[in-house]
Symmetry: C2
Subunit: 307 residues, 2 copies
């Protein structure tokens, strides 16, 4: 998987992921109203509006970025209709040639992890039939349970050419409460980083990077530099740019000298760009996809300053 | 929430949770075949078969146990139809008066946690309308991201009378890889236990226990005794009895002297009891619910030895 990601990043000269984390107040009124007319003000209408909104965003950005990262929580909250919108968003983005990073942050014991792994990055069996259900290319996972909770996914990465990004140092302000605890002279997140590096050894691609990557928040540039040296060939998925406060200058240490090693996510800053001061005067609400495209191009330019 | 749970445990004299973690090979052939005829050998058929199977199990055990614990992974793997079966299972179990522990083990930053919290234990808004979507009474969460990732759920626990069980020491064999790391003279899981205890202080019920509980695996009796003294008034949700190898004698230290403080989960051992040697000769495949009932009564008797 990691080779496919790197190939796309290089071809597009852009290490940006667009986070597809819709909220109803990001969705233009016309799309909302249309779906309320069809389905009432229901969870189904919200889910259908998300899908329509996402398709617009994807149409606006698919030729500029290597990947999108739908956050499953935004869909899951609306129940089965929401999950269907998540699945249909993935399907549409794949048709457009995008790689999919499913932000699911799952964690469970091995026998349960198998079910998540089958559904998200493998195939589920119904007697002699088998189905691809979610179809993400890579997913995020939480490491708290240790390696046997990760192993079923690693097997699927090999079988189905998929990848993982495992939480190492998250972008939220309380991330240090557990992740920064001192464990024998190093921080817990550093120890987890070493484990992730080790877990990834069996999945190293032709460019030397592993298909098992790490989530390292953009809000911790100093820690990221340390992690970069602990795990030089682990790809970082970096949330927190833009709306969460991090700027391009903060992100230099997340990359290697080859200009690779990190992929930077922006969600609200792109998908709700039409609501931002910088774009409001240029784009009308119905031009939300054009605004998203402009925001991606601006982010690309911003990141190129440090690459 | 915790008061409702304790009331039911005392009324039934039974601290057992039945884990509703269906797999197709647990579902009697007749139920599977019927649903394949209706829907083909599809994810939808699997989901419908799970729901029918669960209803049978619930009918067999609802008057004996305080709660059921559906494991969302088993349903989520089948996509939106699977999620609908999870939701419908919860609805049916609630009609029968059972409390629901949603085993979802979610973890994410605050703004995302809000979406999970709204969907699972709160209400989601669609403009001026609001909906209860999943309707669990309590859910499991992963603590790796720290308190701001838990806080949105705590608010909902207060507003909607709900509860949480946060992973402290899990039952899997690699749980020690991260959870047992030494952090300044204590184990990480002990530090997490202290945090969970602290996070629960604002949700203490009339019996002195908090609605914020802890997941403590049945496979670590020695560690559990230590945790019991660190967090005396935190309820433990204990997976790992039966199929994962723990026995009643191992569980004494999980309880307090008042006979409270722990609720013990068994999944496969109950829901697939009809396939176990001990019950096979007495119950036919179509009597799977009666076998589950017998297994619950046997587990109750087993646990009463230590209470």
């Amino acid at each position: 998987m990691i080779d496919r990601l790197i190939e796309k990043i290089e071809a597009l000269q852009n290490p940006t992921v667009v986070g597809l984390d819709p909220r109803l107040n990001y969705v233009p009124r016309a799309i909302r109203e249309k779906n309320y007319e069809l389905y009432g003000k229901t969870p189904k209408a919200a889910a259908k509006a998300f899908l329509e909104f996402n398709k617009g965003i994807i149409d606006g950005i698919y030729d500029l970025v290597p990947a999108v990262k739908p956050q499953i929580a935004m869909y899951e909250q609306y129940g089965s209709e929401g999950i269907q919108a998540y699945i249909d968003t993935i399907g549409y983005a794949k048709e457009k040639g995008l790689l999919i990073i499913g932000d699911i942050k799952r964690s469970d014991i091995a026998s349960t992890a198998e079910a998540y792994a089958d559904g998200h990055i493998g195939r589920v069996k119904v007697e002699e039939e088998s189905y691809s259900i979610y179809g993400e290319d890579t997913i995020t996972l939480n490491p708290y349970l240790g390696y046997d909770s990760i192993e079923p996914y690693v097997g699927h990465c090999k079988t189905y050419d998929k990848g993982l990004f495992i939480l190492v140092k998250t972008s939220n302000s309380n991330s240090g409460e557990i992740q920064d605890l001192d464990v024998g002279g190093e921080k817990l997140y550093e120890r987890v980083g070493k484990l992730v590096h080790q877990w990834g050894q069996s999945l190293v691609g032709k460019r030397g990077y592993s298909s098992i990557g790490a989530v390292v928040g953009a809000t911790h540039p100093h820690q990221a530099e340390g992690l970069r040296s602990i795990m030089p060939k682990t790809y970082f998925l970096v949330p927190g740019y833009g709306a969460q406060g991090a700027k391009a200058e903060d992100l230099k240490g997340y990359f290697n000298r080859d200009g690779l090693g990190a992929i930077i996510n922006s969600s609200r800053g792109i998908i709700a760009a039409y609501q931002r001061e910088a774009y409001q005067s240029k784009y009308k609400e119905e031009e939300f996809a054009l605004a998203a495209r402009a925001a991606v191009l601006d982010m690309k330019k911003d990141l190129q300053k440090i690459l």
